[in-house]
């Protein structure tokens, strides 16, 4: 589904991604871990072209997208990839429901009424239908992140990208967000997720990638990956965080 070949990304003279080759199949749940500054977010952001690669190719459903650096194609590609951010990035000037319907209605993916119905259904699913008319400032962190997730779902993406979706949350709110992601995984949603929740990575991921200094150092299925890491760098990292 996604095929990344020799991906490079520089910020000025700084080489943040130094050649990433990776293939992600439909229905896969790929978890990315690694130390701060290793390029995890940058890799994720390259996948939906929030950052433009400076080298290499990204293939999505048989189409090379890294060269679509502007215009219609770019926006169409992003519609197929939902993204969830660490700090939620809900739109504070819109109600919860408007947050969800903005993109589908603006992009003429749905009529206003249909989009509202869909939004209500998504809110019901996360138990927040009573909050539809409220503004994001009135929600808790966990509620905000769940709304952010269904806002992305409203575009019916084929892939979901999560960048540390629980890192900005109070501990007691992490569970509700992970539960929603777990549900999506169970429904077969293809997802790529950067996280520091090792337990969750192990449980939900079907493949774990370890990034360090702009490359994927090691990867594998969760079981062998965590219990029997091969490279010294991963051993070192796991020793620190587990």
């Amino acid at each position: 589904m996604i095929n990344v070949k020799g991906l490079h990304k520089n910020f000025g003279y700084v080489e943040v991604l130094r050649g990433i080759d990776e293939e992600i199949a439909q229905g896969e749940r790929v978890v990315i871990i690694g130390p701060s500054g290793s390029g995890k977010s940058t890799f994720l952001r390259c996948l939906n072209l929030l950052e433009f690669p400076t080298g290499g190719e990204i293939w999505f459903e048989g189409e090379e997208i890294a060269s679509h650096n502007k215009g219609k194609k770019l926006n169409e590609h992003r519609q197929k990839m939902g993204m969830v951010f660490q700090h939620f990035n809900l739109f504070p000037h819109l109600t919860v429901e408007q947050n969800i319907t903005l993109a589908p209605v603006t992009l003429k993916k749905a009529e206003k009424e249909a989009a509202r119905t869909a939004a209500r259904r998504l809110l019901e699913r996360i138990g927040l239908d009573a909050w539809a008319e409220k503004y994001p400032a009135t929600l808790s962190g966990g509620q905000k992140q769940r709304v952010a997730i269904v806002r992305a779902l409203a575009m019916e993406p084929q892939v979901m990208l999560f960048d540390e979706p629980t890192s900005a949350l109070d501990p007691e709110m992490v569970g509700e967000v992970l539960e929603l992601i777990r549900e999506l995984a169970a429904e077969g949603m293809t997802m790529v997720m950067v996280t520091h929740e090792m337990g969750f990575a192990r449980e939900v991921g079907n493949r774990v990638l370890f990034m360090d200094e702009g490359i994927i150092v090691e990867q594998g299925e969760p079981e062998p990956f965590f219990s029997n890491p091969q490279s010294p760098r991963l051993q070192n990292f796991l020793a620190k965080v587990l």
Partner: protein, 248 residues
């Protein structure tokens, strides 16, 4: 030399219906400031959008580049020439044929105001969290749509109190419009000084400005408070944990 208060009031307001003249002055000052503000906001918003778009692109479109140049020229002209001189040029050169005081005043002050308001809006736009635009783009919205639906509404809202202050500034600036024969408050005071043969009208000029400015300041304060309340964020406390070494 010490007139009784009632005699002063009589000379300034009652005698030959002079209160009507004051009313006319207050109305002119307020309406010129109002239309100048509208014009300034329209110009300022356009400029801010062009400048932010221009600066956000590595290689701006040629049209955008030209617009940006024109804007820079406009801003240096407006900032380099004193308001008084601009007013005289509007009144006696560009619109010399017009006797429409409201039009002359609004254009002169509004076009001047645009250059300053642009800076406020630009600040408002760049102070909207980058994550907002990113969220919009990640949903597949184009740059213009992200701008108009997500960034600008927040930027404008954040700039509203500053617009209130700009209105107060403009209102005070109109006191020079008498030089262009516009019947604003100060000019009315000057006319009356010629008729009463004393300086007492100046007292009332001060009183009018002061009272109106105080009322406007009160209203701006209310607006500020209202806006603060409506988006008081319930910020999630940052989680501190063993991961902080890794997750900044």
């Amino acid at each position: 030399m010490i007139d009784s208060i009632s005699a002063v009031l009589y000379r300034n307001f009652i005698y030959s219906d002079r209160y009507l003249l004051w009313l006319r002055g207050v109305r002119a000052s307020l309406s010129i400031a109002f239309f100048a503000l509208l014009l300034g906001m329209a110009i300022g918003l356009l400029i801010a959008i062009v400048r932010v778009s221009h600066d956000s692109m590595a290689k701006p479109h040629i049209l955008l580049w030209i617009l940006n140049r024109i804007i820079k020229l406009y801003i240096s002209i407006i900032r380099g020439i004193p308001m008084t001189v601009q007013l005289l040029i509007w009144s006696f050169v560009i619109l010399a044929a017009s006797r429409n005081q409201l039009l002359i005043g609004s254009l002169a002050f509004g076009i001047n105001s645009g250059a300053y308001v642009a800076e406020v809006f630009r600040g408002g736009i760049v102070s909207v969290d980058k994550g907002q635009a990113e969220a919009g783009r990640s949903l597949g919205l184009s740059y213009p749509k992200t701008m108009t639906k997500i960034v600008l509404p927040q930027a404008i809202k954040n700039s509203l109190p500053a617009m209130g202050n700009e209105f107060i500034n403009l209102f005070k600036l109109t006191s020079m419009a008498g030089m262009a024969a516009i019947t604003e408050i100060t000019h009315v005071g000057n006319i009356l000084r010629g008729l009463t043969f004393d300086q007492s009208p100046l007292i009332f000029v001060c009183v009018f400005y002061l009272i109106i400015v105080l009322i406007l300041e009160f209203l701006v304060g209310r607006l500020e408070k209202h806006l603060r309340k409506s988006d008081r964020p319930v910020v999630a406390r940052q989680k501190r944990s063993v991961w902080d070494g890794f997750s900044r």
